[in-house]
Structure formats: structure tokens, C-alpha cells
């Protein structure tokens, strides 16, 4: 049998462990709550609604501590312990400004938008896909994220962008998209060939004055906010809030957005697509007629 002194030793040791363990011993072992005076939604009551799922902020708070606190921080402001090593910087939830939305620029995203972002991750950042979490867990996290800013108590998400059916991919559509790329001066940031090396690229900063790089179409296969043609459409029609990428919702009409989508696909030279095939065939036969994109090109370059 175990002698009593060893039992006592073990018991005392366990008590010591429990005592110390129960204390918030290290930074970021505890998730803070926003100042109630700010009027942010309550952790106790805030919910998210994704399809038939209802997420609960109270559950999400525990998940946030496990998975998110290291980057997004105990105050949700993007100042987690790891933030200093991360580029681009983690999202500041207290601003309630989100890049990937289906809603107009400047408005709050839908719960589904946040859920999609958590599920998809952001390919060119440290934010991974959290698809391995259960759907309920992801819904709970969405609910909790909304407790960091009073905007969620005062505003409703914007109206969801309606994306019309995609027209067929034609060379005319691609050429018109190329004209729009020139006319809207997309090349100034993304570069004439979509390499992310336009003349303005080096000067860009996000809403927190952190340097930010335009998307390089030539190396990317997926975009920050998705991978499909519908996702590309949504990105430039709603804008990427918090970055210099504006919304073109008021600029592009009719099939213009789809034409731009079809052209942007041709810049993804490492990503096979029917747009790229069509464009490469056209370049082979009409290369000499194609004017370069850039400052010297006349509007409506072809």
C-alpha cells in the first residue's frame, strides 16, 4: 500500500497544480469582454444564423480562446501574441470591417459571409481553413465575433449582392473585360500583366496604415475571398473593405462585371481555365493587334 506521506504529497501537489492552473497565469489565457458601455451585443445572448444552424456566442467564446486568441487577441483587436510575426495582420474585430462580404461596401457582412470566411480561410495569409471544426462550432464562432463591436447591435448587414447568371465565355467578352481593366485603372495596382506590380502597388496601405500588396494574378490559383467566377464577381462588386480595393458596383453595369471576370481569369497563367485557353489562342493569331495595357495605352486598348 502507498504510505500516507506519499498520498499527502500527491494530494498537496494536485491541489497546488489545480490552484495555479485555475488562475489566469499567462497573458492571453483569458478572453476579455468589450466594455458594456460601448453597447456591443452580449456574449450571453448573441446568436448567428447560418441556414438551419444557430450559433451561440457563449460557446464561441470558448472556441475563440482555443483557436483564435493567438492572432486576434484577447480583446479581438488583432493584437494577439502572434500578431507581431504575422503579415498581413490579423483582423481587428472591434472595427467590424470585413474584406469578404456579399454586402455593399461599408456595410456589415452577413452571418453566412463570416461563416464562409472561417470555413474557407484566406489562402495568402496565416488564416487557415477551419473546415475541420464542426459546422456548429463555426457558427458559434461567428456569433462570438459579433460581440466585439457595437456596430452589430446598431446596424443590420447590407443587402446581399445578386449575381446574375454568367454569360458564355467569348473572346469578345474577354476583350471587353480587358478594356475595362485599362479604363478602370486596375493595372495601376495589379500591374499591366496582373503581377501585382503596378506603379501604385508600393504605396498601398490598409485602413490601419499597414503596407498591403495587390493580388498577383499570375501566381495565384485562388483568391482571398473564394475561387469561383462568382467569387471574383463578388469581390470587385462589393470591394474589399479595409483595403484600397474599391467597390465597382456603381461603375459596372450589364454584363460588364462578367466581362471583367473573364479577362481576369486570363491573367491567372498558372491556373487552367477556358478563358485562358481562349485568350492564348487569340493571342497566337492576333498578337500583333493587341495593344499593351498601361499608361501609354489608349482607352479601349485592344
Amino acid at each position: 500500500m502507498i504510505s500516507s506521506k506519499f498520498v499527502a504529497t500527491f494530494a498537496l501537489g494536485s491541489i497546488a497544480l489545480l490552484t495555479f492552473g485555475a488562475a489566469p497565469a499567462t497573458a492571453q489565457s483569458h478572453v476579455n469582454s468589450p466594455d458594456p458601455l460601448l453597447g456591443a451585443p452580449s456574449v450571453n445572448t448573441e446568436e448567428s444564423h447560418i441556414g438551419t444552424l444557430t450559433g451561440h456566442a457563449e460557446e464561441g467564446k470558448h472556441l475563440y480562446r482555443r483557436y483564435c486568441i493567438g492572432c486576434h487577441g484577447p480583446d479581438g483587436d488583432g493584437n494577439g501574441m502572434n500578431a507581431q510575426w504575422i503579415d498581413p495582420k490579423p483582423r481587428d474585430f472591434t472595427e467590424a470591417t470585413f474584406k469578404c462580404r456579399s454586402t455593399p461596401t461599408g456595410t456589415l457582412p452577413t452571418d453566412q459571409d463570416l461563416y464562409n470566411a472561417i470555413t474557407r480561410g484566406f489562402i495568402n495569409t496565416n488564416m487557415p481553413s477551419w473546415k475541420p471544426l464542426t459546422e456548429q462550432q463555426r457558427a458559434d464562432l461567428v456569433a462570438f465575433i459579433k460581440t466585439w463591436s457595437p456596430r452589430w447591435a446598431k446596424e443590420k448587414p447590407g443587402d446581399v449582392l445578386v449575381i446574375p447568371a454568367e454569360p458564355p465565355v467569348t473572346i469578345e467578352s474577354i476583350l471587353h473585360g480587358r478594356e475595362l481593366f485599362q479604363k478602370l485603372e486596375c493595372w495601376k495596382c495589379h500591374g499591366p500583366a496582373g503581377h501585382g506590380d503596378g506603379p501604385s502597388a508600393a504605396t498601398l496601405t490598409d485602413s490601419k496604415d499597414n503596407p498591403i500588396r495587390p493580388y498577383n494574378f499570375s501566381t495565384g490559383t485562388r483568391f482571398k475571398c473564394g475561387a469561383t467566377n462568382q467569387d471574383i464577381y463578388r469581390i470587385f462588386m462589393t470591394g474589399v473593405d479595409g483595403t484600397p480595393m474599391p467597390s465597382f458596383h456603381d461603375t459596372l453595369t450589364g454584363n460588364d462585371p462578367w466581362d471583367l471576370v473573364h479577362f481576369l481569369r486570363t491573367l491567372q497563367i498558372s491556373y487552367p481555365s477556358k478563358e485562358l485557353d481562349l485568350w492564348q489562342g487569340y493571342v497566337a493569331s492576333h498578337g500583333k493587334d493587341i495593344k499593351p495595357i498601361g499608361p501609354d495605352s489608349a482607352a479601349g486598348a485592344q
Binding site: F10, G21, R65, T125, Q136
Partner: protein, 493 residues
């Protein structure tokens, strides 16, 4: 490397020998003390890799329920070949603080005790002489003191997109090194997560990993059934031990469905055509074993994440050796006889409570069970031994930094290798409780304080223990109680 048995150390402590004599004794003890080299190796509780956390900027808790145990996010990361499937996977991508090697070691204080041990009487009797003969009696052997675990020096990651690797040199507490894991893995073949091929030395695809679990003490730090063989068996197989070979594995996008098929050498993961990873082990045979594993996870909504699975290992071990020098030097294992292990396991959540049940059934050929050469006749009453049993382990997560542990394990010998053996000969019952507190758990490193108490009753056999502690009792009907009390500071950089 075999560890000193308690009685050997006791003798050392009580004798005032010269340094040379001690050295000689230690060498002799190492050579002869423990005839179970595979069990004597550190079990390689290794698999927590802050190097990944540093690379991706994620906290330990993102991949681990409580490190080193994986959660499903960590499982998916591992199944994808240590890739998050984003731009950060490139082997050349790194942030300024990324250091691609991890270290893990655990300074500790622990107390080990085992009763019904064969000891010499009277106390202080050393050696034998006509004037002062030693008597063998049953007694209790107790040791305690500060100690070190073995050390793991871990590197893993990607060599190229969809080519990953693990290299894990691991030492025992005396700094004798071996390669616990070393493999290259070709991931997502044909752009499908269903086809991944691993080549080298690796842990079998156990749903409940012994390499990633949370107990560290000698008794609690192993799953008894992963290393159990019936009394008198020459089979050295341990389901928890790393094996060497090739594995085809696959999973769906979120790793809810997983399978693996491994073909491994029948040598218990040994290298250099031997049956172990350290020098001096017996030679291996020339056959291969197969391990099959399948598991399916379910989203149980508010309860959490549930996984169940099944496994089967079919293998062979030699019963005699081709020899040279008049039978003194074994060359190659021959006379293979078969054995198998089958079972099912689960990883079940009820909110913050995680339950890990496992059931296993084992069957050995009678030649293996009685350690008889297949060239000869079986002893009278010999029969194919079987055993069955399992465990249920519980983890209660107060939060990501505090977890309460418990485990109950039971193994019964279903059919004794010799019909005359007592029916309960070799049965094992084990209880373990523990507590782990992770005061530091972020993307640079991890520290955990670990407290455990573990108690194992084994009838008539050497108590199965992480360091091989213990001895066979005087009588096969004696139940040996072996216990561990453990406090350690487990750190991982």
C-alpha cells in the same frame, strides 16, 4: 536501452562500491538485466511540434486538444502532409522567428513501487556465500527521486509541395539515441487526399495514439494493451510501437473518413535487419506484417465531434534462428508463426469531456505463445493463447490550458498458452489519474505541468511499465501491484 531494475539500483544505493565497480555493474546490468529491449525503450511521447506553430503562427491549442494529443484540425493538418493547404505551406516560406526544429524533455520527480518482487534477504545481503547465503523472498521495492525523461529532437515539414517528412531522433534519459520516426510522405497523389504514401519508420495509424497522449509516468505512460503479450510468449509485438515499412493512407477533405493500409517488416520497427533500434538486438526475420485501419467521424452538433474506428494487425514472428559459431550467434529469424490483433476504438466528446474507449483481441500461434521452436514439438498442454481487453480514458478540459485525466484498463488472458496455467495468469488491471496544466501555450513554445498517479495490478508477470521496471513474482498466482506517482514539467520548444 534496458533500464536498471529497482533491485539493482537498490543494491547500488546500499553498497559503497568504487566508481569502477559501479561502472562495471551498470554495464553488466545493462547487458543482462532486462531481456525485453523493445519495452525498455522510451515510448517516444514526442508528437508536439512548436516548429509548426512557429511557422504558421498558430497556438498549440489550434492543433491539439491538449498537446500532444491532436484535435481534428491537427489531424487534418497531419493528414494533408503537414500542410494547411495555403500559401504558407511552401518549404521556403518562413517568418523571421521560424526555427524548424523542436525539443522536448521533461524533468520530473517520481516514485515507483512494486510489491511481490523477488528480493534477497536479509537486507544488505549482496552476493552469495556459504557463510551468508541470500534467500529469495517476496518484498516490495520502492524508488523515488528527481529524474529526466528522454529527449526528442524533432523536425518535420514539407520538402516540396505535397512531399512531407518527419525526422525524430529520440534519446532515452541516458542520452542513447535512436530514430523514433523517420519517413518521407508523398501527399495528395493524383491530386486526391485519398492517396498518400509514407515510407520509413512511423507510428501505426492508431485512432488512439500512444505517442500523442497525455500521461507521462512509468505505469500510466503506456497503454498496457498496446504492449501486452501472454505470459511465456516469444512475441515481441507492441501495437503502440513504431514500425518500419510503407503505408498507403487517405482521407476526405476534413478527415472525417480515414483509412490506412501499412505493410511493415516483421521486426517491431527494428533497423539494420534486427528487431530493435539500438545495437545488440536479435536479428530479424524476412517476412512482412500488415496493418489496416479505418475510422469515421461524425458531427454530433452540440455534443461535439465523434470518431469511431476499427483496426487489424496481422503479423509473423520467428520461432528460431539460423545460427553460426555452433549456435551461439543468431543470423536470421526463421520458423515464422502468425499472430493478429483486432479491435475498435473511439474518440468521443460530450461537450468538454472526451472519452477514448478501445477494445482489442489478440491471438498468437501456440509456438509463439510457448516460445517453442517450430522445428520441435510443442510442450504438453500447449495451445494458441488469446487475450482481450481494453481501456477507457477520459479527458475533461476545464479550458484549453487545464485538463483532468483518468483511465481504466483491463486485460484478461482468454486462453492460456499452457492449459495448466492458472486462468488469470497474466491478467492486468490498471488505473491512472492525472492533471495537466499548460501555463504557456502559444505559437513559440509550450510548457505543461503534469501530475499523475497510476496503479497497475498484473498477475504473475512483470508489470508492464514504461521503463521496464519490475520483476516476475515468486508465484504465478501472485498479483503484483505496481504504482507510479509523478510530477513533471513538460516543455517543448
Amino acid at each position: 536501452m534496458p533500464s536498471l531494475r529497482p533491485e539493482t539500483s537498490r543494491l547500488l544505493n546500499r553498497s559503497r562500491l568504487t566508481g569502477l565497480a559501479i561502472f562495471t555493474l551498470v554495464v553488466l546490468a545493462m547487458l543482462f538485466a532486462d531481456a525485453k529491449p523493445a519495452q525498455a525503450l522510451p515510448t517516444g511521447k514526442a508528437f508536439a511540434i512548436p516548429a509548426f506553430a512557429r511557422k504558421y503562427g498558430l497556438p498549440c491549442s489550434a492543433c491539439h486538444t491538449a498537446w500532444p494529443e491532436l484535435n481534428n484540425f491537427g489531424q487534418v493538418f497531419r493528414d494533408n502532409g503537414y500542410q494547411l493547404m495555403n500559401d504558407r505551406d511552401s518549404p521556403i516560406w518562413q517568418n523571421p522567428s521560424y526555427f524548424p526544429i523542436s525539443f522536448r524533455i521533461t524533468p520530473s520527480w517520481h516514485r515507483e513501487a512494486a510489491d511481490h518482487q523477488v528480493i534477497d534477504a536479509p537486507d544488505g545481503c549482496f552476493g552469495t556465500s556459504l557463510a551468508n547465503p541470500c534467500l529469495s523472498v517476496a518484498g516490495k521495492v520502492t524508488q523515488s527521486g528527481f529524474d529526466l525523461s528522454g529527449m526528442d529532437l524533432w523536425s518535420a515539414g514539407t520538402l516540396y509541395k505535397n512531399i512531407s517528412f518527419v525526422l525524430l531522433p529520440s534519446s532515452d534519459p541516458t542520452a542513447v539515441w535512436h530514430f523514433e520516426s523517420a519517413f518521407i510522405r508523398f501527399d495528395n497523389l493524383k491530386n486526391s487526399p485519398w492517396f498518400n504514401v509514407k515510407f520509413g519508420r512511423f507510428e501505426l495509424d492508431n485512432l488512439i495514439s500512444e505517442k500523442r497522449f497525455l500521461f507521462l509516468s512509468n505505469n500510466g505512460g503506456i497503454y498496457q494493451i498496446y504492449h501486452f503479450n501472454t505470459p511465456g510468449s516469444s512475441n515481441n509485438f507492441g501495437y503502440g510501437d513504431n514500425q518500419i515499412g510503407v503505408e498507403l493512407a487517405g482521407h476526405n477533405a476534413n478527415s472525417y473518413t480515414r483509412y490506412s493500409v501499412a505493410v511493415v517488416s516483421s521486426n517491431e520497427g527494428g533497423v539494420n535487419f534486427t528487431t530493435d533500434v539500438v545495437p545488440g538486438a536479435p536479428p530479424a526475420n524476412r517476412s512482412y506484417d500488415v496493418n489496416l485501419a479505418f475510422s469515421q467521424a461524425f458531427d454530433a452538433k452540440s455534443l461535439g465531434f465523434e470518431r469511431i474506428g476499427a483496426f487489424a494487425y496481422i503479423g509473423q514472428r520467428p520461432t528460431y534462428f539460423e545460427t553460426t559459431d555452433g549456435g551461439t550467434v543468431p543470423l536470421v529469424g526463421l520458423g515464422n508463426k502468425s499472430f493478429y490483433r483486432v479491435g475498435f476504438a473511439g474518440d468521443l466528446y460530450i461537450h468538454n469531456l472526451e472519452l477514448l474507449p478501445l477494445f482489442m483481441y489478440g491471438h498468437d500461434n501456440a509456438y509463439l505463445g510457448t516460445a517453442t521452436s517450430s522445428q520441435g514439438a510443442l510442450p504438453s498442454g500447449a495451445q494458441a493463447p488469446t487475450f482481450y481487453g481494453g481501456f477507457i480514458e477520459s479527458h475533461y478540459y476545464l479550458n484549453p490550458q487545464n485538463v483532468i485525466l483518468g483511465r481504466f484498463e483491463k486485460i484478461n488472458v482468454g486462453q492460456q498458452a499452457l492449459s495448466g496455467n492458472p486462468g488469470n495468469f497474466g491478467n492486468v488491471t490498471a488505473y491512472s489519474v492525472g492533471y495537466r496544466w499548460y501555463p504557456i501555450m502559444f505559437s513559440r513554445a509550450g510548457v505543461a505541468l503534469d501530475g499523475e498517479y497510476s496503479r497497475v495490478k498484473s498477475i504473475g508477470i512483470v508489470p508492464e511499465s514504461g521503463d521496464g521496471t519490475g520483476n516476475i513474482p515468486l508465484f504465478p498466482t501472485d498479483g503484483v501491484w505496481s504504482s507510479s506517482i509523478y510530477f513533471g514539467i513538460d516543455f517543448d520548444f
